[in-house]
Each structure stands twice: as structure tokens, then as C-alpha cells.
């Protein structure tokens, strides 16, 4: 028994660099398969509504008549059920997280607008 059993670890940790990353000043390195956020290539979407039916959290709304695809990223649980079942493979699970925000807003993608400048899904990922 020794009172200084842990002393070796404690003293050596004084001289090592911190184990944590000083985020957000340094960028985070995300692993390749990380599930962060769903994005859509709206040009390929056929508005079949499969993603809306499969979503367990009810985060996706598909409007066929108005050609609008909406997702609430704060309801999304990042299960990638929608991405796996999409028949046109236009949904992708990106690595970076949803940017924090003071209130829960939906992201709207509208396929009728030429050039898609009105689409709101172009927010900057946090830390970059």
C-alpha cells in the first residue's frame, strides 16, 4: 500500500499536452462514418415520400404538389433510415453536426426555384 501510488500518473500528466481538443478554435476531426446531419440533393428528389414514412422521429415533411422537402434537424435522431431507403439515393448523412441555434427551425428545400438560391440548407457547419 502506498499513498503515492497514483503520483506517477498525476505528475506525468502535468507535463503532457491536454487530451482534449481546443474546439472551436481548432477544427474537429470527424471519423469517416460519423452520423451528423442529413443533406439532400434536391434536383434528384422525386418527392415519393418514403423518407417521411420511414422516419421514426417524424422530422421530414414532403410536399409533392409544391415540390418542397423539409427537415427539422433538431428532431432528427441521425438514424439514417431515410438515406438507406431513398429510391434515388439523393439523401446523404454528412459528418458535421447541425449548427447550434437559439431556436428550433426547419430547413426547407424547394425544387421549383431555379438555381435553388432560396434553399436554407447551406448553413456553415460548426467549428469550420
Amino acid at each position: 500500500m502506498s499513498y503515492l501510488h497514483f503520483a506517477g500518473t498525476l505528475i506525468s500528466s502535468l507535463f503532457k499536452k491536454p487530451y482534449t481538443t481546443s474546439y472551436p478554435f481548432k477544427p474537429l476531426e470527424y471519423p469517416e462514418r460519423m452520423r451528423g446531419k442529413i443533406t439532400i440533393e434536391i434536383e434528384k428528389c422525386i418527392f415519393c415520400g418514403t423518407c417521411m414514412r420511414k422516419c421514426p422521429a417524424g422530422a421530414i415533411t414532403v410536399d409533392r404538389t409544391n415540390k418542397e422537402w423539409k427537415i427539422n434537424p433538431f428532431s432528427c435522431v441521425q438514424c439514417s433510415c431515410c438515406a438507406d431507403n431513398c429510391p434515388k439515393k439523393c439523401l446523404h448523412m454528412e459528418q458535421h453536426y447541425t449548427t447550434p441555434a437559439p431556436e428550433k427551425t426547419e430547413e426547407v428545400f424547394d425544387a421549383r426555384v431555379p438555381g435553388n438560391t432560396q434553399n436554407s440548407g447551406n448553413s456553415q457547419p460548426a467549428g469550420k
Partner: protein, 361 residues
Amino acid sequence: MGKRTIVPFGPQHPVLPEPIHLDLELEDEKVIRAIPSIGFIHRGLEKLVEKREYTEMVYVAERICGICSFGHGWGYCKAVESLMKVEVPSRAKYLRTIWHELSRIHSHLLWLGLQADAMGFESLFMHSWRIREEILDIFDKTAGGRVIFNVCKVGGLRRDIEDSELQGIAARLQRLKAEIKTITDTFFDEPTSVSRMRGVGVLTKQEAYDLCCVGPFTRASGNVIDMRLIDTDGCYQDVDFQPCISTDGDCYARCRVRVDEIFESIRIICAAIEKIPAGAIDVPVKGNPPEGQFFTRLEQPRGEAVYYVKGNGTRNLARLRVRTPTCINIPGLVKTLQGCDFADVPILALTIDPCISCTER
């Protein structure tokens, strides 16, 4: 006759990972009686079977608890697969075992950190969780999430791990063994740590069996109750699993059992990685769960968990019941608290490894 007071413990307490309320009847410094009360984190998840189909219910089952998340997903899938008579491929069984044992290591490291925090040894707490971060990095790389995995589905798994990645995991775990040993030796040799844990909350073998306790709580008293001995849905039969037992029955023995389980889990994972077969990771599942019911059991890090599913021929299950180990360990906690010192209450509350969000669902 000493002075009698009633002191509330919880729901907010620095040592508790989740809220439980205990009314402690004290006479001077000794606890005479403890009255538990739960319901602070009740989300009614079992009632969601009415709204979510059986394929979507996996996501709800995984989110019952953040620490034992993979176990709940596997237990639910196991129960539904047995009800629907679906046989999962061999590779999926091995991968599920590997993920579950990694889950056990991270849960025990979390508990070690909380135990150190309860004793006031903050730097040991931080170092235990630093090692736990290495395990969470493995989860991130393989499953895509640190805490909630979303890899289990009815019929198998949604993701595979390549063999090269598996070899990397085995090598990393072998390197971690030396670091884990430094941390755990401190628990067992440091005089302050030993005096806080030895002789506290003793339960004899018969008492632990009569109180129907499960998991490391009862294995530290000598009862060999471990569901991995009869498990056929993982690969425990192929890796020569041995349960970790102690006979002293106090907090020190429970700490020893959990630490032994960490090293046993590392051995199981390395053995499984050597023997894992190639092949498919899922089978297609068609149709609805038939009318009928099924009980299945799984060894979670905290003990035996029971999963009961009842089908009625539709896409929604009629009932899902998850009986988690902490639920049945609470009477054991109430019993050990009778007659203990007031200062030992945080150590005893932690010694059952409480996971109240599992208990209340």
C-alpha cells in the same frame, strides 16, 4: 434515544448519474430506513409501441438509456427475432457480441469514475473517463455515434466492421490494458480508497439471493448468476467465457468484480475477433410479428435484463416490457442502507450501479 431526522437524498445529487429520490430516516448519524421514490425521468417509452411499428421501435428501445444503449437494442431485436423465428447470421452474432462487450467496458469505466468522484478523488475520476474516451472513439469509428449506435435491426445489423478495422481494435485494447491497470490498482491499493470501500454494505450470499439481486451486485457475494453462461444469440459459447465472482460481498468486492469484468471483456473481444467468420450481416425479414409472446434475457453491464414482447399479428407490437437490472437491485439498496452511516450513503447508492432511466423507461 438519539435525535431522529428525515433527510432527502436526490433527485439532484452530485454523485447520482440519474435522479432517484431516497427519504433517509436518520437517528444521529445512522440510517434507520430508506424510502425510495422514482418517476422523475419516466418517458412512457413502452407505451410507444402503440404508435411505432416494430421495425421503428428499435430506435426507441436504444434510447431507453445512454449507458446500456446497445444492450437494449440487441435485447429488443433478439426478442422480436425469436418471436418471428428469424435466424441471424453468424457474423452478426459475433459483431453484436463485440459491440456489447465494448459497451460493458465503457459502462464499467464510467462507474469507476463515478465511484472515485463519490470518494472525492476527482483526478482518478478524470483519468478513468479519459480512458473511456478511447472506447467511445472506437464506437464513433465503427457505429457512427459515441453513445447511441443505431446499428441493430430486426434481422441482423445495419453496418459491418472490416477485418482490418477489427485487428486495429484488438491492438488498441491490448495497449489500453496497461493504462487501465494503473487506474484500477489505485482503487485497490490506495489506503483512503480501501477504507471507504472495505466492509461497507456487506451482503451475504443467501441475503443477495433472497433479495433477488442480479449482476455484479450479487456476483460479488458469491452467486453465479450470469446470463452469458446460457446465451445462444451471441458468441459466448465459442470464446470460453468465465464469470467473475468474489465472496466478500462488500463494496470493495463489487469494485473488484467490475474491474475483473473489464479485463474479461477485453479477452472476449480479442478472442471473438480471431474467430469471427465472414459472411452476411443480416437476413431480410418480411411480414408482421405473429400472435404470441416471448421472454428473452441478456446480461447487461448492470445485470440480467428481461425483454418480453407480445405480438398480435399487426405491424405494432401489443406489449414490450423491459425489466432492467437496476429495477430489481433497488430492494437490495434499501436493505444495505438500513444501519449504515450517513457518510456511506453515496458509496452505497453507487455500488448497485444505478441506471434509473432504464428503471423508469
